[in-house]
């Protein structure tokens, strides 16, 4: 009982904190992001497991966490508003070659990051080759090059 409540509380807290932090948090895998992710997982594990290292407790926690994810996906499907609050929506950052700077600022995305995504996903060299750049709900930037329909 105790470990299930712990698991659900930590799950809900992580859900809220990462929504507050924004789409871009931990979406890239820089060395520091990876280290931060490891620290967060270690801290989370200690808060959830406490001093009960039994297999039963481990099974209970895993079942609780996977169950919560399944339940949330069902709820998100049934209530689109909830889906919107939990997952967010994609946002256009470059619209027909035009930089939407206020959107970029609000979401902490700079031109260098868009260019990096353009190089890595499309092999593009310059900003003027980009038709659309979209900040996806998972924090990734997708690029649509000019000339594609």
């Amino acid at each position: 009982m105790d470990s299930i409540l712990r698991g659900l509380t930590v799950y809900a807290f992580l859900l809220v904190i990462f929504r507050i932090a924004g789409k871009r948090t931990l979406s890239q895998t820089t060395t520091f992001d990876l280290v931060l992710l490891l620290i967060i997982s270690e801290t989370t594990q200690q808060a959830m497991v406490h001093s009960d290292h039994s297999i039963t407790n481990g099974f209970l926690l895993i079942t609780t966490l996977v169950g919560a994810t399944l339940l949330l996906s069902v709820l998100k499907q049934r209530f689109p508003k909830l889906d919107l609050w939990l997952e967010g929506a994609p946002l256009i950052l470059i619209d027909k070659g035009r930089l939407l700077k206020d959107r970029m600022e609000k979401n902490h995305v700079d031109v260098a990051e868009i260019l990096s995504a353009a190089r890595m996903t499309q092999g593009l060299r310059r900003l003027d080759q980009i038709d659309y750049a979209i900040l996806e709900t998972n924090g990734e930037i997708s690029i649509i090059p000019k000339g594609e329909r």
Binding site: R19, I20, A89, L91, I92
Partner: protein, 160 residues
């Protein structure tokens, strides 16, 4: 839809979510600042002291479940043996890790435990430290009775 690309941006929601995010970030900053000052234990705001019959107890007003905490007592002894009783109500809500110095004897009594310490000199206060970890959430009250001379009463709050 925006321009030639099929995408549902939900701009009104994005604006609202942006405001919520700002409030959330502000709350995060307040939380960290409050924690630095000891709102969740281990800081200036959580430290407290009570005095009675010349004795003194330093304790933490706020602590957290299963995190190490201390009670520091300074008591002027009146004879060669110091008898200190502690309420069972408090003892039930904590796990004692160490009493320094160890009592020579612990006597069980309804609603309390009596700890006996031998004392070699009675011309100054003696110090006793109790190291423990809270084993419950919420409010807790405790009481040290110093040989019937006075009572050191304290209350604590344990965060989950």
């Amino acid at each position: 839809m925006a321009g030639e690309i099929e995408i549902n941006e939900e701009l009104e929601h994005q604006r609202r979510a942006g405001r919520v995010r700002i409030v959330g970030r502000l709350l995060m900053a307040i939380l960290v600042l409050a924690a630095l000052f000891g709102t969740f234990g281990g800081g200036a705001l959580s430290k407290a002291r009570v005095e009675a019959a010349g004795a003194q107890l330093d304790y933490e007003r706020i602590s957290r479940f299963n995190s190490p905490s201390k009670l520091k007592l300074r008591i002027p002894p009146s004879s060669s043996e110091l008898n200190l009783s502690l309420s069972s109500e408090f003892l039930e809500r904590i796990d004692i890790e160490r009493i320094d110095p160890e009592p020579k004897e612990i006597e069980l009594s309804p609603g309390k435990q009596i700890w006996r310490f031998p004392v070699s000199e009675t011309n100054g206060p003696v110090e006793i430290t109790v190291q423990y970890r809270p084993d419950a959430f919420g409010n807790t009250r405790g009481e040290f009775d110093i040989e019937g001379r006075g009572k050191l009463q304290f209350s604590q709050f344990y965060f989950p």
